[in-house]
Symmetry: C2
DNA sequence: GGTTGCGTTGACGTTGGCGGCAAGGTTTAG
DNA sequence: CTAAACCTTGCCGCCAACGTCAACGCAACC
């Protein structure tokens, strides 16, 4: 199939597919007139790319998964390089969750103090009995 | 004080201070020769900016906090606009924590399956008595 | 043979918080 | 007088995953 059809079936754009190709993730052959020709397996590859991007992977991280699929595996996850990336990403996410958690606490406290402060000011303004 | 001194005392760069000024966060007066002159209060402002940036705020989000300080409040948090931003940011962080949590679960499962798959393959390769 | 709708490459724009450099003016110390 | 150390404005670069446009070629239909 050609680029427009693959783009539509993958739910993305031709520009995106060319971008992936430029970064070595997708490899179409060319027809006589220079058009890109993709076979069915590439649809799977593009889906893999998209779903990994969606959970925060970068294109460089994704490369091993694509290679794994291309090597004939049912899943892109099972090859050693993919597993290594999965481990690293899990660690990154855990790390980020920690940092985000402490940011959350800080925000929560800051908000609580700000509101308390405002209510106190309000009381002073309207007098202690107000 | 001039830009170099403020930069050093605030632990940042002159470039950064000019950037904040270009975005309306810091307002030095000028000396006769055109040099930027900052008073002591600006040091506090820059610290506020930096600490808010550090927890993930954008410069636009920070503007109300600076205005609050400039209005004479002890803390940049207590003004209504600041509180509104704090609320919004807390909601954003909660949202992001949720999404990151589900990404984490997905990664965890994916990793677990990949490893199980590999061990199974290993056993098949070396025979069931493995 | 003209229109329409595919495809191609190439290049610039986006977002944010700066870093770094150029090309000059100012001030200060020696 | 000069060199060093400050300051000024202005502009390009960076990162990532594309969007968008330009200018063109190819294919198909009427």
């Amino acid at each position: 199939m050609r680029i427009g059809e693959l783009a539509e079936r993958a739910g993305t754009s031709a520009r995106t597919l060319r971008y992936y190709e430029a970064h070595g993730l997708v490899r179409p052959r060319r027809s006589a007139n220079g058009y890109r020709i993709y076979d069915e397996a590439e649809l799977r590859v593009v889906h893999e790319i998209r779903s990994l991007l969606a959970i925060g992977f970068g294109l460089d991280d994704i490369r091993p998964f694509v290679a794994c699929l291309r090597a004939g595996h049912d899943s892109g996850d099972v090859c050693p390089d993919s597993v290594a990336v999965l481990r690293r990403k899990l660690a990154e996410v855990d790390d980020y969750l920690d940092r985000l958690g402490s940011v959350r606490r800080r925000l929560h406290d800051q908000l609580a103090r700000a509101i308390a402060q405002r209510e106190e000011t309000c009381l002073r303004t309207r007098g202690p009995a107000g």
